[in-house]
C-alpha cells in the first residue's frame, strides 16, 4: 500500500521534507547513498521460519508412531496439507521479497524514488501536514497506514538489538531463577531488566519498584488467591 504518491509534485516534496525532518527518518539522499547490496534481505527470515516449521512437521510426520488401526484419513493427513501450504507460502513470499527489492534497487539507481521508504515510514500524523489541511484532499479513504504494531519497517531501519537482547536475557534469568530463588527475586530481576532495556536509568529506584511489585504479586496471588508461586528464600516463612 502506497501512501507517498499524492498527486502533484509539490505534495510529493512536502512529504519528503516531512520524512526528512522527522526524528526517525534520515535524509532521503542518505538513503539512496547507503543502500548496501544486502538491504532488505533480512525479510527472508520469514520464508526461513516457514521452511523451518515445515521441516519440523516433516520430521515429526515421518517419525510418527501410528496406532495399529487408523481411520482414514489418519493423523498425518491434515499435517501434510499444512506442510504443503507452508512450503508454498515460503516460495511465494521469497519471490515477493526479491521482486520488491529488485524494484527498490532499480528505483534508487534511477533516482526516481528518493526515499523509497517514506511510504512504509508513513505515520498517521504525516497526513495532517498543515499545508494541505484545509482542502481535505490529502486524506485517503484507503487505510493510509497499517495499524500500530503492524507497520512494515523502513528497509533501512535497524532493530535496537541491545534493548531486545537485554529483555531476552532478563526473561532467561527469570526462568532460571524462578524455582531456586523464588518468585519475588525472579520477577524483580525481570521487571528491572525490562525497564532498564526500555530506557529507564534510575537503577536503584527501579529495583525498589520491582521488588515492591513482585512482593505484592506474591502476597495477592500467592497468599490470598492461592496461586502456586515458588517461595524461594521465603520457603519457611510462607
Amino acid at each position: 500500500m502506497s501512501t507517498s504518491n499524492q498527486p502533484g509534485d509539490a505534495a510529493g516534496t512536502t512529504d519528503a521534507v516531512a520524512v526528512a525532518s522527522s526524528p526517525s527518518g534520515p535524509s532521503p539522499s542518505g538513503d539512496a547513498a547507503t543502500i548496501g547490496p544486502r538491504a532488505g534481505l533480512s525479510e527472508l527470515v520469514v520464508p526461513g521460519i516457514l521452511v523451518a516449521i515445515a521441516i519440523f512437521l516433516i520430521v515429526g510426520t515421518v517419525n510418527m508412531k501410528l496406532p495399529p488401526s487408523v481411520q482414514v484419513p489418519g493423523p498425518t493427513f491434515f499435517p501434510m496439507i499444512i506442510i504443503g501450504l507452508l512450503l508454498l507460502m515460503a516460495v511465494l513470499s521469497t519471490v515477493q521479497i526479491l521482486r520488491s527489492r529488485a524494484q527498490l534497487l532499480r528505483g534508487v539507481k534511477a533516482g526516481t524514488v528518493s526515499a523509497g521508504f517514506d511510504d512504509v515510514d508513513a505515520h498517521p500524523d504525516e497526513f495532517d501536514a498543515d499545508a494541505v489541511d484545509l482542502d481535505g484532499e490529502q486524506v485517503d479513504e484507503l487505510p493510509p497506514d497499517v495499524p500500530p504494531g503492524r507497520e512494515p519497517w523502513p528497509a533501512k531501519a535497524f532493530s535496537d538489538w541491545r534493548a531486545l537482547g537485554i529483555v531476552l536475557a532478563s526473561l532467561v534469568a527469570c526462568i532460571a531463577l524462578l524455582v531456586p530463588a523464588g518468585w519475588i527475586i525472579a520477577a524483580a530481576v525481570l521487571f528491572w531488566g525490562v525497564s532498564y532495556a526500555l530506557g529507564s536509568r534510575r537503577p536503584v529506584f527501579d529495583l525498589s519498584v520491582a521488588l515492591v511489585m513482585s512482593s505484592l504479586i506474591q502476597l495477592i496471588f500467592g497468599a490470598l488467591l492461592g496461586l502456586n508461586l515458588p517461595a524461594g528464600f521465603l520457603a519457611g516463612v510462607l
Binding site: 525479510e43 524462578l178 521487571f191 502456586n228
Partner: protein, 501 residues
C-alpha cells in the same frame, strides 16, 4: 418474545454486586488498554485468560466483554488529543478528530466519539439479542461439512481479505495451523510432534500462545524500537466533553450510518473493525463533498462520529457471531473463544440451549457495560489521557511480569515459560516483518475444529472430496467467501489505478 424474557433473566443474574463489579473492572481495564497506544483488548484478555482457572464463567465472560467494548471506547481518546490512535480501530477517527481538537473543539470531539461508540454498540447488541438465537437455531443442523466450511471461511477471510498482502496473511495462518497440530490427536490417539515430551501431549497451551504472541511479542517489538519512535504530545484540555443540540443533530445521522457499516462487518470474519471504520469515514467524506459548506479537513464532526460508531457496532455483532456460530471474527473474539474452551464449552448453536443462563447474562452485561462505559468515558476522557504519564519502561516491564505470572500460574511448568519466550520471539518477528497476528490466533483456535470436521466428513464419505460441497449451507458460505475475495480484488485494482493517475 422469548428473547425479551430471557434477557430479563439475564439482567437478573448480572445485577448482583459481584457481577456488577466484574462489569466495572472489565470496562475500566478495557478503557485503559484502549487509551494506551500499542496495548489492545486482545492483549488484555490474553493476559487475563488465567483467571478462567479461578473465576466462574459468568464473571469471567462479562469482564472480557467489558474489556472488548472498553477498548473500542478508549482508543479514540489519544487519537483525538494526541493524533496517535490507541488502536488500529481508531485510525479513521484520528483524521477529523484531531483536527477538531486542534481547532479548540476537543471537548466536542471526545463527546462525539463516546456517544458514537455507545450508539454503535447499543444498536448492534440489540440486533444480536433478537437475531443470534435465530442464527443459532439455523446452525443446529451444522454437521462436519458445514463446520469445515465455516472454519475455511474464517481462515481465508482473516488471512487473505484483511491482510495487506494475501501471501503474508496465509503464511501467518499456516504458522498458526502448525502450532495447533502439536499434541495428541483427538481422533486416532497418535501423539503428534511432541517428540516424547510429556508436557506437550496436551498441545501447546492456548494461554502460552496468546500471551506470547500478543503480550511478549509486543514488549519485544517495543524494545527493539524504543529509541526510534517519535514522542507524541498531548493537547491540554480543561473543559468537560459536551455536545450542544445542533452538534448532536449534526452527528446523529453519521452515528447511524456508521453503525450500519459496523454491524455486518462484525458478523463476518474480516479481522475486526478496521475496514468498516474506513468505509464509514469514506462515505461521510463523499456525502460531505456534496454539501454547500464542506466540513472535511476542518474537523468535521461527522468524520469522527461515523467511524466511532462503526467500530463499536462490529464488537456487538462479533459477540453475536461468536455466541451463535462459534465463529470468532476478531482477535479479541478469538481469545474469548479460547476462554470458552478453557471452561469446556464450545460456542455455537448448542451454547444457547446448554448454557443459556451464561449466554443471556453475558448479553445483558453488554447493555450494562455500555452504560458504565459511557459514564466513565464521557466526563472523564481527559483524565484517561493521563494514563500516558505512566513511564513506558514500567508499563512494559509490568506487562512482561504479568505474562510470566499468567503462564506459570496456570501450569507451574518451566517448559511453558520457555515456550512462552520462543513464541514471544515468533510474535516479534511477525510484527517486525508486517505479518498479521489475527490469522495465527484464529488458526490456532479453529485449527482443531477444521481438522476434525474435515476428517470426519471424509471418513463418512469414504474419501470422496465432493462431500465437502454437498450441502447448501456450505455452498452458501463458500459463495459469500468468493464474493468477498472478488470485492477485495476489484478494490485493490481500482486503488492501484487511482494511484497511477
Amino acid at each position: 418474545m422469548d428473547q425479551l424474557s430471557n434477557l430479563m433473566q439475564g439482567f437478573g443474574s448480572v445485577l448482583t454486586p459481584m457481577n456488577l463489579l466484574w462489569v466495572f473492572v472489565g470496562c475500566m481495564l478495557g478503557t485503559a488498554v484502549g487509551v494506551l497506544p500499542g496495548l489492545g483488548s486482545a492483549m488484555a484478555v490474553a493476559l487475563l485468560l488465567p483467571v478462567t482457572f479461578s473465576l466462574d464463567p459468568v464473571g469471567a465472560f462479562i469482564m472480557f466483554a467489558g474489556i472488548y467494548y472498553g477498548g473500542l471506547f478508549g482508543d479514540s481518546t489519544t487519537a483525538i488529543l494526541m493524533n496517535t490512535p490507541g488502536n488500529s480501530t481508531a485510525i479513521a477517527s484520528t483524521f477529523e478528530g484531531h483536527r477538531m481538537a486542534k481547532r479548540g473543539r476537543g471537548p466536542q470531539a471526545l463527546a462525539t466519539a463516546a456517544i458514537g461508540a455507545f450508539t454503535g454498540g447499543l444498536l448492534a447488541t440489540i440486533l444480536v439479542v433478537f437475531f443470534a438465537p435465530v442464527l443459532a437455531d439455523l446452525a443446529t443442523v451444522f454437521g462436519p461439512t458445514e463446520y469445515f466450511a465455516l472454519a475455511v471461511v474464517a481462515f481465508i477471510a482473516t488471512a487473505a481479505v484483511v491482510a495487506d498482502s494475501a501471501v503474508k496473511g496465509v503464511a501467518a495462518l499456516s504458522i498458526g495451523l502448525a502450532l495447533a497440530l502439536v499434541g495428541v490427536d483427538g481422533i486416532s490417539g497418535a501423539s503428534r510432534y511432541t517428540f516424547g515430551v510429556p508436557a506437550l501431549f496436551d498441545g501447546i497451551d492456548i494461554i502460552v500462545i496468546t500471551v506470547g504472541l500478543l503480550a511478549l511479542g509486543e514488549v519485544l517489538h517495543v524494545a527493539s524500537r524504543i529509541h526510534k519512535d517519535p514522542v507524541a504530545t498531548t493537547m491540554g484540555m480543561n473543559k468537560r466533553p459536551f455536545l450542544n443540540r445542533g452538534e448532536f443533530r449534526e452527528a446523529l445521522p453519521a452515528w447511524l450510518r456508521g453503525s450500519a457499516f459496523g454491524v455486518p462487518f462484525g458478523a463476518i470474519p474480516a479481522g475486526g473493525a478496521e475496514i468498516p471504520t474506513f468505509l464509514a469515514f469514506g462515505l461521510e467524506r463523499r456525502l460531505d463533498r456534496r454539501r454547500k459548506d464542506p466540513q472535511f479537513g476542518k474537523g468535521a464532526i461527522r468524520g469522527l462520529a461515523a467511524p466511532e460508531s462503526a467500530a463499536n457496532a462490529t464488537a456487538g455483532s462479533a459477540m453475536g457471531s461468536l455466541l451463535a456460530l462459534g465463529l470468532p471474527t476478531s482477535a479479541t473474539a478469538a481469545i474469548m473463544l479460547a476462554a470458552f474452551q478453557q471452561y469446556g464449552m464450545q460456542p455455537g448453536p448448542l451454547l444457547f440451549t446448554r448454557n443459556s443462563d451464561l449466554v443471556w447474562a453475558l448479553l445483558a452485561s453488554l447493555f450494562v457495560g455500555m452504560f458504565v462505559l459511557l459514564i466513565i468515558n464521557l466526563p472523564f476522557a481527559p483524565l484517561w489521557a493521563k494514563l500516558l504519564l505512566i513511564p513506558k519502561p514500567y508499563l512494559y516491564a509490568g506487562i512482561t511480569v504479568f505474562a510470566v505470572l499468567g503462564v506459570y500460574a496456570g501450569s507451574s511448568s518451566l517448559i511453558d515459560l520457555v515456550l512462552l519466550v520462543l513464541i514471544g520471539l515468533l510474535g516479534f518477528v511477525l510484527r517486525r516483518y508486517g505479518l498479521p497476528l489475527a490469522p495465527v490466533l484464529i488458526a490456532v483456535i479453529l485449527g482443531p475444529l477444521a481438522e476434525t470436521s474435515l476428517r470426519r466428513a471424509l471418513a463418512v464419505s469414504e474419501g470422496d472430496v465432493g462431500t465437502l460441497f454437498d450441502s447448501g449451507l456450505a455452498l452458501t458460505l463458500y459463495g459469500l467467501l468468493a464474493l468477498g475475495i472478488i470485492w477485495v480484488g476489484v478494490n485493490k485494482v481500482r486503488g492501484r489505478v487511482k494511484v497511477d493517475i
